[in-house]
Amino acid sequence: MLPRFPYRVQIPLGLALAVTLSVLLVSIVAARISARNAQLEIVNRVQSIVELLAAQGKPLLAQDDTWRAYTLLRNASALLPQTAKGQSRAALLDAQGRFLAASDPRRLPTGEQALGVLINGRLLPAVSDATRTKTLTTPDGGMALIEPIRSDDAQVIGFVFAEVDAAAFDPDWAALSTPAVIGAALAILLLVPLGWLLGRRMARPIAQTAKCIAQIGHTDPEQLQLLLPYVKDPELERIAGAVRQLLIETSARQANAQRALSAERLAAVGRITAAVAHEINNPLAGLITATRTLRLHGDQPEARNRSLGLIERGLQQVRTITTALLPQAKVEDRCMTPADLDDMLTLARATAAQQLVIITSEVDVQAELCVPSTVFRQVMLNLLLNAIRAAGQDGQVHARLFVTPDKVSFILANTGKHFSDERLQKRLMTNDGNDPHGFGLWICHEFAVRYGGGFTADQAADIPPPFTTRLNFWLPNLARHDPQKSAAD
């Protein structure tokens, strides 16, 4: 319960508790010591009183003066412990061991035999056995003293009898505890406000440090360092020093993160540049091929027109790509036609020819076709170039354009290295575009996600051997919904 309180409450409460416990322990120890001392003191006091009574009672015994003996005993017994509570008493006995008088005549009746009989449950010695001082104790801690009184010629003329009950030896708890309680109360009165001040003073740097810790992440670490207290207490200084070190490290980490962010931004710009270069470079390779064809066969009208058409569509694709980089631009794109597949095959064959890769294709258009031509052309060219690289020397690549009313699919199979769907998806998930080697696949995946299509790998069941797996990229066929509308990006 105590640790839940703030220090300005904990410290005074703790001090008060410590004082109370100390007082309690001291009182217990003092009580034990006091009880032991009190017993010795009582014994000594009783012996002194007995000696006094022996001296004063001697003439009274000689005169057989019961009344004066009584007044002597009554006055002297006030010196015995707890007489008022009836826990001690004294008497003068005659030579025969009978009570001449007693301070408490009702318990020690005048004239009754005392020596040699049971008195208050204690058997007193006979007259003949009481010629010397006798100290009798009881199992419960009480005591009795018998002192013979002798005449000048050493004749025993009587006895002094003093008796103290065990209860008289009990520590006076009230008397013992009263000063302790008063002392504890005074100490608490002093210590509570003092502890409150100490607690507040002690808690101030801790609270300041805690405030600094709470603001880490929200406030500049360098400013927070200025708020950290400088204390002399070694433990607090260690805490403050640790927080200060934490702030220094946080500051350094933030600087590093800032630098990393800048580097990341630069890298991102680099990747974008690389991507743009990649997307532009692919059609550019085809365009260069077309210009060579045009230079070689430009005098033939069919070849010239075909090369010019290819160049025009390639340039249009480049234009569309670069326009798409402008965030404020709204790119208008045309619907793709089967001729676009021919363009891409034409562009890819130059690369395939270098590796002696055979490219075959088929077009299965079962419905009107409308997908963004630039996107689809780029995907087809990317996948064709990837497939040629994967097929390797003397490999085969088969491309298929499959159009249904719902979607437009570009299916590609190749010999050589190929993807299973699990491997492809893992590659797409782990590759966030930072890997330049998988950039083409990632772009295809991003297009599929953006346009609501799909990009998977599966068994090439509908493609004759030697192909075993295929990549399937598809986009929703926009012609079904709005045939008049262009495939706006």
């Binding site: 057989d64 003066d65 019961t66 009344w67 004066r68 009584y70 007044t71 009554r74 006055n75 008088a101 007693a102 005549p105 009702r106 009746p109 005048t110 004239g111 009754e112």
Partner: protein
């Protein structure tokens, strides 16, 4: 011891006070009238004694000094050695020394010059005594060996009950009627012989010792302890002292003092009143004088 010291202190104080007061009436060379007091009254009340001595001194024209002693014998010794001019003693020592003493005045209790002796015991005790016959093997407290009510009457009654001192477990003198009451109240004695006037006065003053005892038996009426002087004492103040006592009831101050004494006045001396005490002493063989 303490009580005696206290009484002596009171007496000395009374002397000083009276001496100072008397200077307004007579030359300081006037010898004071010394009056002895015994346990026949509750004499340890300093303020009262001062007022009484002042009262008497004003009427006698000389200082009056009260001298108190615990035992009757001590006062008699002072009286016979002429250290006292007068003394308030018990009827028994008076009849013992009647030939040497002269009556000055006899106190009146409720208008009569008589008082009783009481046998007192402890109240509400299963073993409480009911009379003289119950005193066998009991502790009996007497007041003084020269007290009529506190010893002589008891001797006659014990004899009548067929008991002797040996039949008692123990008997002792308490050196004063008041002490007898305290001895019985404390349990030091089971019974006590006491002056009935003193016990009644103690009860009137709500003293604990009277409240813790009860009267078991009352004696016949005997002459009240008288104020006497030594026969042949020619002190001229003595007749005036007797007259002053007898006239106390006539003024307010005197009545107030008498009320404090629980008396109604002082009467003219009459020696015949003491014949029953003389007969009682003779019956027990205690008339030695």
């Amino acid at each position: 011891m303490q009580r005696r010291t206290w009484l002596e202190t009171a007496a000395v104080w009374s002397v000083l006070s009276t001496a100072g007061h008397a200077q307004t009436h007579k030359p300081s060379s006037t010898a004071p009238l010394r009056v002895g007091l015994t346990a026949v009254i509750l004499a340890d009340q300093a303020a009262f004694l001062t007022r009484w001595s002042d009262y008497l001194a004003a009427r006698l024209g000389l200082p009056v000094v009260f001298v108190a002693r615990e035992s009757y014998q001590a006062i008699l010794d002072l009286l016979f050695s002429e250290q006292l001019d007068a003394a308030w003693i018990c009827g028994y020592p008076y009849v013992m020394h009647q030939s040497r003493l002269q009556l000055l005045a006899i106190p009146l209790l409720a208008g009569r010059p008589y008082y009783q002796s009481y046998l007192i015991g402890q109240p509400n005790k299963a073993s409480a005594i009911t009379g003289w016959n119950d005193l066998k093997n009991r502790v009996l407290a007497y007041s003084d060996p020269l007290s009529n009510s506190g010893w002589l009457v008891a001797q006659a009654q014990l004899r009548r009950a067929g008991l002797t001192s040996k039949d008692l477990r123990r008997s002792f003198f308490a050196h004063g009627h008041r002490n007898v009451a305290e001895a019985v109240a404390s349990g030091l004695a089971q019974a006590g012989c006491i002056d009935g006037y003193v016990w009644d006065t103690m009860q009137l003053q709500n003293m604990a010792a009277a409240a813790q005892t009860r009267v078991v038996w009352r004696s016949d009426w005997y002459a009240f302890p008288p104020m006497v002087n030594l026969l042949g004492n020619k002190n001229p103040a003595l007749p005036a002292f007797g007259a002053a006592l007898q006239n106390m009831f006539t003024d307010t101050q005197g009545q107030s003092l008498l009320k404090a004494l629980n008396l109604s006045g002082f009467a003219t001396p009459d020696a015949t009143l003491f014949e029953p005490i003389k007969a009682l002493a003779a019956s027990v063989g205690a008339l030695r004088a």
